[in-house]
């Protein structure tokens, strides 16, 4: 008997070995030839990219998803802007997402995406992005790739040094670029100096749900807080903001706020302030800001107005905030993977200033202060400075890192990416960009664990890179292979809107958990229906609610009578498909909003206010099957005083 088992076992083992050897041979044949730029970026049809890249949409208000190294755009995720493609911001369910204390704001300027982290490494749960114009922070699910939450930031204006994530996603940090009166009031503009404040907001993130809540706001002197980054590793618990306009000018800023030889990097010990707040510190201030949450169960967003925010006066928490003098209106404020170096990019200078976290702590310990600003100690430049990168370029903006001790800085004015060594400050390589690079991104480059294979440079000017399309055109990004000592430009691709920053991560972090459908049995939309047999039409005064089902390839019902001029007709469309990539669309003639694009298992609502008597068609806008053209229906609209009963049908 045992021998039989040996025979069977042996055969199994032999089979496994055979399969194993085959696979090994398969991988070995790859890669031997990969040398030219074309081969490096070529992702063959049917194959997939190695990295996801999330590029901010700038003045499009959205976030775009690309693949690296192919540069192919996969999706535009609507965040702060109405998006007729899906009905985001037009459907009844998503209108609340764009609610603010200023009412419905259908647009924003989205800037700096950042992926959630655990222990300083990307964990791929959510991505956050800031709305710069009407200060807001959004949280986007990386399972559905949809915006789940938007919180407005009170006391802020030009929400630019945002949205950066601390090492364990304890906080999303959102700083104001423009200082303003806090609270807002009617006062002369030229009394800015000493009166305006810069609010730096620490928004807590609930570990399970991701739910956002402004834990506290630090009301800083009225400088411009331009960019920021969290400390990591040894500097975890601190956050660093670059500032300009420490002159506190309020007019002709390009001259008047460029007078000081040095501005500051503000180092904020948020753990200390958190402790202060947890022990009852801070002042509750009346406020009015919107908190909008989207539920994937009800497929509906709800907007709540919050009426209070906790503020902290820096002088009440001594030892929590210091200024690090940094030359020439620094823009980028970047922290290396070890957390030791804080790099300030003086955008009007040629050099980069690198501060040492260790030296900063020592200087604080020794109380080596070089004056103060509004009660906040200023550390002496020489005591905190670790080194200066003599780059030879002009206009450094932003720095990212690889995993082997190199830093990569963009130079806007001299239009190049410069690679240099942390610690020795030697320039290793420089490559031109085409043209005027703003920010750059290495997947994981803003974490403890960068994936230093590619750097994406996001350029502000496109000029002759693509076929001309009139005066207005998209921007251009460029991919450099940074796996070797020297960087190599391998690809150009156009980007949508104006990316101000990006975040990237390995594909395997997100691809396996990307949702394919919404489950119909989890749909808790109040107007959703579980089965086409529940389809119906109900009248409530002049409101008509149509509970409609879509499945290839018909609407249920598709003939509706008894609607009158002056009615508010709500089409609640539930997509009963449970198959990947089978959305149905809905549009009706004279719709004053946009179409709806309804994913399998989802319910969306469009409002239609018929103005003319007649029989009006509606149809599916997403080519759903060979019978998509047949997916249509009619609504009969009668005069307001008509007494035609509501009726509905399918196939009668």
């Amino acid at each position: 008997m045992k021998k039989i088992y040996y025979v069977i076992g042996g055969l199994l083992a032999a089979t496994l070995l055979y399969i194993g050897c085959n696979q090994a041979a398969g991988t070995n044949t790859n890669g031997a030839l990969a040398s030219s730029a074309a081969e490096k970026v070529y992702v063959a049809p049917g194959e997939q990219d190695e990295f996801y890249a999330f590029l901010s949409g700038g003045y499009s208000g959205n976030l775009t998803v690309y693949g690296l190294p192919s540069g192919r755009m996969f999706k535009e995720i609507p965040v702060f802007s109405q998006f007729p493609t899906s009905g985001y911001g037009y459907s009844e369910e998503t209108k609340p997402m764009l609610n603010t204390s200023f009412g419905f704001v259908p647009w924003d300027d989205s800037h700096h995406p950042d992926i959630s982290q655990t222990n300083g490494e990307l964990d791929g749960r959510w991505i956050f992005i800031n709305g710069n114009n009407t200060p807001r922070i959004a949280r986007i699910s990386l399972e559905t790739f949809e915006t789940e939450e938007i919180i407005e930031i009170p006391n802020s204006a030009g929400n630019h040094s945002s949205s950066f994530i601390t090492e364990n996603t304890e906080y999303v940090i959102a700083g104001t670029r423009f200082s303003v009166p806090v609270p807002q009031r009617d006062m002369p503009i030229n009394e800015y100096k000493g009166n305006f404040k810069g609010a730096l907001s620490f928004i807590s993130v609930a570990p399970e749900t991701g739910r956002l809540d402004i834990k506290f706001q630090v009301l800083m002197p009225g400088f411009n807080y331009d960019l920021s980054h969290p400390g990591r590793g040894k500097s975890h618990g601190w956050h660093f903001f670059s500032t300009y306009n420490t002159e506190e000018a309020n007019s002709l800023m390009e001259v008047n706020s460029s007078q000081n030889d040095k501005d500051f990097i503000a180092a904020i010990n948020w753990k200390k302030i958190e402790e202060y707040v947890d022990n009852g510190g801070g002042t509750k201030m009346p406020a009015n800001y919107a908190h909008n949450v989207y539920s994937h169960e009800t497929h509906t967003g709800t907007s709540t107005m919050k009426k209070e925010v906790l503020t902290v006066d820096p002088n009440e928490v001594p030892g929590a905030i210091y200024f690090l003098p940094t030359p020439k209106s620094p823009h980028g404020c970047d922290v290396d993977p070890s957390g030791e170096y804080i790099i300030g990019s003086g955008k009007l200078s040629a050099d980069l200033t690198v501060h040492s976290f260790t030296k900063m702590l020592a200087a604080i310990e020794a109380e080596k202060f070089d004056g103060e600003a509004y009660g906040i100690p200023i550390l002496s430049f020489d005591d905190v400075m670790a080194g200066i990168v003599k780059s030879g370029g002009l206009g450094p903006l932003h720095t990212e890192f690889d995993a082997s001790g190199n830093a990569y800085t963009t130079f806007f004015i001299s239009s190049e990416v410069v690679k240099w060594r942390l610690g020795t400050w030697d320039v290793v390589d420089r490559k031109p960009t085409f043209y005027s690079v703003g920010h750059l991104m290495i997947p994981g480059g803003n974490s403890r664990k960068p994936f230093g294979k590619y750097v994406v440079a996001m350029n502000k000017i496109t000029k002759d890179r693509y076929l001309p399309t009139g005066p207005e055109m998209e921007h251009s990004a460029q991919i450099y292979d940074i796996s070797g000592e020297k960087m190599e430009l391998i690809y150009d691709f156009p980007t949508h809107g104006e990316p101000h920053y990006a975040a990237g991560c390995p594909a395997e972090l997100l691809a396996p958990k990307s949702k394919k459908i919404y489950r119909l049995d989890e749909n808790k939309h109040p107007y959703g229906i579980n089965n086409p047999s529940e389809a119906r039409v109900e009248r409530n005064g002049n409101e008509v609610h149509i509970y409609m089902s879509t499945i290839r390839s018909h609407f249920t019902p598709d003939n509706i009578e008894g609607v009158k001029v002056g009615d508010k007709v709500y089409f609640h469309i539930t997509n009963h498909e449970q198959d990947f990539d089978v959305p149905h669309g809905f549009s009706i003639i004279g719709q004053n909003t946009s179409e709806l694009l309804v994913m399998p298992g989802q319910t969306k609502t469009s409002i239609w206010e018929p103005k003319q008597v007649g029989v009006w068609p509606f149809y599916c806008t997403d080519f759903c099957s060979a019978l998509h053209q047949e997916m249509q229906g009619y609504v009969r609209v009668s005069p307001a005083n008509s007494n035609i009963e509501l009726s509905w049908s399918l196939g009668e």
């Binding site: 008997m1 021998k3 039989i4 025979v7 459908i517 499945i551 290839r552 498909e577 449970q578 198959d579 990947f580 099957s625 060979a626 019978l627």
Partner: protein, 262 residues
């Protein structure tokens, strides 16, 4: 039991593969052959109890059919990089992925196929579990009785033959269902397709193997439940065989002297 004695004696004629050459390393036999011979020799040394044990556990493998699918039909097409699939269990159909049944029905409505049957729609789904359950019980009972020397190994072969007949009948029924399902189409179907000779196209999936159906590649293969059944049935044949060897051992001991002088 007399009827079985004759062939067993034939296996022991001089020069048979179990003779003394086995112990001669220079006999020129290949390693696998010798290995099998060793198994053969060891098996031969087992008694009827071992055979009954095999008979007792073999049918238990059929219980896998209550958990694992018997058969699977998979439909792949360019627009379905993750193919749609149908797992056929003895008590009903299940989607290979959660919503496959719904999605297969959704596609089939274009060509006028009936929706896939629910367990209550087909008598087979209530009868098959009873048949399989009864056969398992019967097989184990035969094994037990064999163990206590109440039955001979012939019953082992008998169970196998009965199970084989039932299996063939099951396959025949399965094929008949597929013929009905694939050809008995709604006359009001949205798409009515014809073969080049003008006859209505059949959408019957293959009983076994691959077939191109419109834009789909249909694959029909046994699954784990069927493989377990196969293993179980092989064990019962093995049981019969071992039982048969144990009979021959008695004969062999009687003829030992003759073999030794050979």
């Amino acid at each position: 039991m007399c009827g079985y004695r004759q062939p067993i004696q034939i296996l022991n004629y001089p020069g048979h593969w179990e003779n003394n050459n086995l112990y001669n390393k220079h006999a020129g036999r290949s390693r696998p052959t010798r290995f099998l011979q060793k198994i053969g020799r060891n098996t031969r040394l087992r008694d009827m109890k071992k055979a009954s044990f095999l008979m007792g556990i073999g049918p238990l493998f059929l219980l896998g059919l209550f958990v694992f699918p018997l058969w699977n039909i998979e439909l792949g097409a360019p627009q379905y990089p993750e193919p749609l699939g149908l797992n056929i269990h003895i008590d009903g159909l299940q989607g290979q992925s959660e919503f496959d049944i719904q999605n297969i029905d959704g596609l089939n409505h274009y060509i006028g196929m009936k929706t896939l049957p629910k367990p209550e729609d087909m008598w087979e789904f209530s009868v098959f579990p009873i048949v399989i359950g009864s056969m398992v019980a019967l097989g184990v009972l035969i094994g037990l009785l064999g163990y206590f020397n109440k039955l001979g190994y012939g019953w082992f072969f008998g169970w196998f033959v009965l199970m084989s007949i039932l299996g063939v009948l099951g396959m025949y029924d399965f094929n008949a269902w597929m013929v009905d399902y694939g050809t008995n189409l709604d006359p009001k179907a949205i798409m009515k397709l014809q073969n080049p000779d003008g006859t209505p196209m059949s959408y019957k999936p293959p009983l076994l193997g691959h077939q191109k159906m419109l834009n789909f590649d249909a694959y029909s293969y046994p699954r784990l439940g069927a493989y377990l059944m196969f293993v179980g049935m092989v064990l019962t044949v093995l049981a019969g065989y071992v039982g048969m060897r144990s009979r021959s051992k008695k004969v062999q001991s009687m003829t030992k002297g003759k073999l030794a002088t050979n």
